[in-house]
């Protein structure tokens, strides 16, 4: 049994390889983008609208509301990034009910990639809102002595973000695979259901933590809780 879908390689040329992680990611991207394109092709601005449009509006507004509740003043700016994190992770988890599917989030490469995106996005938003000096000054607060600890916290939280998602998704997949060999009938199904729940929770946690990091970076450094406060 392969621990990561990275190891399931369909095609390789040199260091360029086409593994299951990338393929299923493309599949998820196609579903998300294609579905969104189909639904939003005929959007109604009136009071009468389609069911799918209602679903999309509910999802988008819920994400925007969740971002606003965390403390971001202009949530619409971050809906694209954080909402995509949530939808990608959530759909990757929901798709596990399809036989033969392997979630890309079960790959540490994918979770690391997402965590690196958050690792880059948070300072980028912070610098854009507060300027480079204003953002870097936050690392010296409350005192200069906290600078190394803040840098370590910034790195460690990114690592924790990646490992947490990877561990949950990989473990759920591994538990189901192991149980299939031990008790092949009912128990794996129940565990799959638990895996769906765990995947949704992880998607929520991942996106909320990313929102918190971005909110901490974009807010005034004097009032924010600190780089590693939400790990």
């Amino acid at each position: 049994m392969q621990l990561s879908p990275d190891n399931q390689i369909f095609w390789q040329y040199g260091f360029v390889k086409l593994n299951a992680t990338i393929v299923f990611t493309w599949l998820l991207m196609a579903i998300l983008a294609g579905g969104a394109r189909l639904i939003t092709a005929r959007l109604s601005t009136g009071l009468r609208r389609s069911r799918w449009q209602n679903v999309l509006e509910i999802i988008v507004l819920a994400m925007e509301k969740q971002i606003a509740e965390i403390g971001i003043v202009e949530p619409r700016r971050f809906v694209g990034f954080i909402g995509t994190l949530f939808l990608f992770v959530a759909l990757a988890s929901l798709a596990t009910i399809v036989p033969g599917y392997r979630p890309p989030t079960g790959s540490l490469s994918t979770t690391a990639a997402l965590a690196l995106c958050v690792f880059v996005a948070a300072p980028a938003y912070g610098i854009r809102d507060n300027g480079l000096f204003g953002y870097l000054r936050g690392y010296t607060e409350p005192t200069v002595l906290m600078l190394p600890f803040n840098i370590i916290g910034e790195i460690s939280r990114t690592l924790a973000l990646a490992v947490r998602l990877f561990g949950n998704m990989m473990s759920g997949e591994m538990i189901v695979a192991i149980l299939l060999t031990v008790t092949p009938y009912l128990f794996p199904i129940v565990m799959t259901l638990f895996g769906l729940l765990t995947g949704m929770v992880q998607a929520y946690i991942f996106s909320v933590l990313a929102t918190v990091y971005i909110a901490a970076a974009t807010s005034d450094r004097g009032s924010r809780p600190g780089p590693g406060a939400h790990q």
């Binding site: 990561s4 990338i22 995106c117």
Partner: protein, 284 residues
Amino acid sequence: MLIDWFTVTAQIVNFLILVWLLRRFLYRPVLDAIDAREQRVAAAMTEAEANKEAAERERDVFHQRNEEFVRQRAALLREAIREVKAERENLYAAARREAEDFRTRQQEAMIDDCNTLKEEILRRTREEVFAIARKALADLAGANLEQAMVDTFLRRCRTMEAGERSELQAVLKSPVGPVCIRSTFPLPDHQRQAIEREIGENFNYGGRFCYECGPDLVSGIAVSMDGHQVAWNITDYLLALEQGIIDLLLDHPPADGREATAAATGGGTVMATPPSSQGADRHG
């Protein structure tokens, strides 16, 4: 190794592409649609609010106009009632005036009719009485009425009281004009001569005489001199008869005093009438 850095790089690129795609096809269209709908709802709410305010203004204006209309109607009604009352009073007054005028005209017409009737009765009575008396005297006593009246007139002149006589003598002593003998019937010459002789003897008058004949004396003879008159006729009879007839017509009791007066005069009257109203009637 759990991390494949090519896969990491590819996933980063994939994720960024996915972010772009979803922002392009999901977030922006959905949020734009929501914004457009909210704007439409807000516009509709604003329009509804404006319509509500306009309706409230219209309602207030309508209420004001309605109240003003009610006030004007009440004022017009009061004015109409006042004018109607005034017009009614005017009509009543005009009707009363017309009724009063009509009643007055009726009374005047009735009085005229009464006077006309009274004169007609008096004239006819006079004629009838005179004719009956003449016929009765001629048939029963073989006497002539005119001659008897002349004789009686002459006897009255002879038997006149001294005071009256002296008063007439004083008048005839210096006459202004001739003594005028007026009678109902034409006097023949011998009667004229008898009257002239009697007046000349009794009142010492030697002047001229003139004679008039008219129906108003009613079978009588009158001597006029300077506003004084000595008459002998049946006027009092006729007046008593006239009053009796009038009383009968008006359903009044007969005037006893008038009958008593006519009886006391013995059926005739000799009047010496002064020119002024202070003079006393002379009854023979």
